[in-house]
């Protein structure tokens, strides 16, 4: 944990939808350069929390700060263009080519066309969509993994410091999922990003994130490094952590290291 001021801060944030309390008095900070995973089952309020960060949703109570600035007083459009967002299953615009999808936020920011084209090339390299033929393709012509790579490239296009990811790899097959997760973590480190990723998969969270927050019923039950979470007395947190541990033990037993050589 660093002592630098948090880049993202939730302060006693509440959000109700009709009579359902989606986010219930959450306080949470994310330091610059940190990779935070928010883990919870569906309906735990994790997606709502993520959307509060770029003002896709406005809180009923409490304050959300980005770089110390209250988002309630920030222009939401400019805010969203400053923050990358990776949607569940891509959220690509089906009528736009790969290049147009990736270049959309720079285009909204009125970058010169040549700069956008150069940035798209650079990003396609970064997310390892190396084949230039992909540039002119439409999203439906890509595989699920390729689509999600485009989603990541789009989120990074306008050089954001912060990236929000909503179950980005959830719909992919395990191999693609691991490859993409590792590729993204490498990008996070290389570009000095601050990432908040939502997932329901504790294994993924443990493997990728620096810190994990566990959410249930709109509240944060525990947060910290995987090691710190182990210290939490909460039964639900313990249950969630059992899964990767058990998987690891079984894998250890089934695939012993010496047998491979």
């Amino acid at each position: 944990m660093s002592d630098a001021p948090p880049l993202i801060a939730f302060e006693h944030v509440c959000k109700n939808f009709d009579s359902v309390r989606a986010v219930d008095d959450v306080s949470l900070t994310v330091a610059a350069g940190e990779f935070l995973a928010i883990v919870g089952s569906s309906g735990s309020g994790k997606t709502t929390l993520l959307r509060l960060a770029n003002r896709l949703i406005v809180p009923d109570h409490g304050t959300v700060r980005i770089g110390g600035e209250d988002v309630a007083t920030t222009d939401p459009i400019a805010l969203r263009r400053r923050i990358g967002y990776v949607f569940q299953s891509g959220g690509l615009f089906p009528h736009m080519t790969v290049a147009d999808n990736i270049g959309i936020t720079p285009r909204l920011l009125r970058w010169p066309t040549a700069d956008i084209a150069a940035r798209v090339d650079e990003l396609m390299g970064l997310v390892r969509l190396d084949d230039q033929a992909h540039r002119g393709r439409l999203p439906h012509e890509l595989s699920g993994g390729q689509r999600q790579r485009v989603g990541v490239a789009r989120a990074l296009a306008a050089k954001p410091r912060i990236v929000l990811m909503d179950e980005p790899f959830g719909a992919l097959d395990p191999l693609t999922r691991t490859a993409l997760g590792e590729d993204y973590r490498a990008l996070h480190d290389r570009l000095g990003l601050t990432t908040v990723m939502i997932t329901h998969d504790m294994t993924e969270a443990v493997l990728l994130a620096d810190r994990i927050a566990v959410m249930r019923g709109g509240r944060i039950l525990a947060h910290g490094t995987p090691a710190e979470l182990m210290q939490s007395g909460d039964a639900y947190v313990g249950e969630l952590l059992q899964t990767p541990r058990r998987q690891a033990e079984r894998l250890q037993a089934l695939l012993p290291r010496d047998a491979a050589t």
Partner: protein
Amino acid sequence: MNIWSDPRWADALAHLPDYLGNHIRVSLTALALGLLVSLPLALIARHRPALRGALLGFASVVQTVPGLALLALFYPLLLALAALSAQWLGINFSAFGFLPAVLALALYSMLPVLRNAITGLQGIDGSILEAAQGVGMTPRQSLVMVELPLALPVIMAGIRTAAVWVIGTATLSTPIGQTSLGNYIFAGLQTQNWVFVLFGCITAAVLALLVDQLLALIEAGLRNRNRVRTAIGVAGVVALVIATLTPSLSRSQQSYVVGAKTFTEQYILASLIAQRLQAAGLPATERTGLGSNVIFDALVAGNIDVYIDYSGTLWANQLHHSDIKPRAALLADLKTELTQRRVTLLGELGFENAYALVMPRKRADTLGIRSIADLATQAGSMSIAGDYEFFSRPEWRSIRAAYGLNFRQQRQMQPDFMYAAVASGEVDVIAGYTSDGLIAKYDLVVLDDPKQAIPPYDAVVLLSPKRAEDAKLRHALQPLLGAIDIKTMREANLRASGNDAVSSAADVAKWLWNKIQKP
């Protein structure tokens, strides 16, 4: 004879630039106006369920109004508006023809456009809208860059449906004074010129298909970002518009406009008048197929200059009298009252086209029926057919009251089919017209009216206010006054009802002129 060598094809073709041009002009203007209103409405309504329901409900109700009725309703509405506008704003506009047709057709185009635009915009996946917001689009950018492009195929399908509907329905704008491809159909139906009917239908269908395909081309071009396709489609529509402007620009505004209602006799007489004017060196055009109530107002407003009407019709329909007067008294009163409306009654042509009860001669003889009084005793077991307005007219009430008539059954029919129906025994009696040539053709007899319950219907020439003092016009029409007797008119009408090459209104008008010159 080969059907394609029929000279009526050439005749139909000669009218094509005028009819088609007007048809395209009125349809495309109506479509453009409809889009201009419907698309913004759809955008406003898409997030407002109450407004959306109200709009779609309104558009659906409009759609259930038959096209002809919708067009006909706009005429009196605009007439009242025009009067108000002239009175309060000092601005005069014509409630005749183009304007009511465009407004009614635009209204007609609204349902498919509204419904498809709203459905198309609503059908977009919510996650895509969130993505648009998430990447930092403003609501307007989301609409232009994401929602409209994604809804485009559905919206264009609506526009194409609207285009086909409008082009088809525009054929019904003929009776309210807008020249269209409907002129072929209305004239053809009345004069039994099936070549005209067929020609009108085919041209309207081809035009609808053409516009539909051009719109499809534009749609495909927009969707695939193919500028060439879009450009070809747009160029096609622009070319259509330009092509329609040419005839209207070259047309002389000074020419005399001769009006005609929607039946054979009117087409012949309008042709005759136009030919006489042209012979006198006066340029003349015809506006045929006008509704019976539209035509008089159009004359008063100066949209047409001259037409033939009938004394009894004017008395009851235009001047709203319900009493029935003897012939001479009625004509005198009519003249006075028309003058108050600044309409000139130039004179009578010499024949009457009155309603008359008509039945087959043989049947009448067998039953011993010579007059309506004889008929009254046997009417209880008989059926009668009349045209669409007869049974709501004062003369029907008058006949029934005078003779105590009570038929077993009462039917409405297209006038041309009435005569065949009575001749074949389908109905027993019809309310026909005294000048109709079919009376002789089917060997029918006109029943006497001893109590004079049927008012007189002298054919009279009417001039518009602005032509009241036009000596040249009066001089050119003078030879027609008192020159056409009932027998001649019947024969002319019979000739025109034939389904052959020399039965066009223009040909019969020439025959009629020759006939009345050498009595």
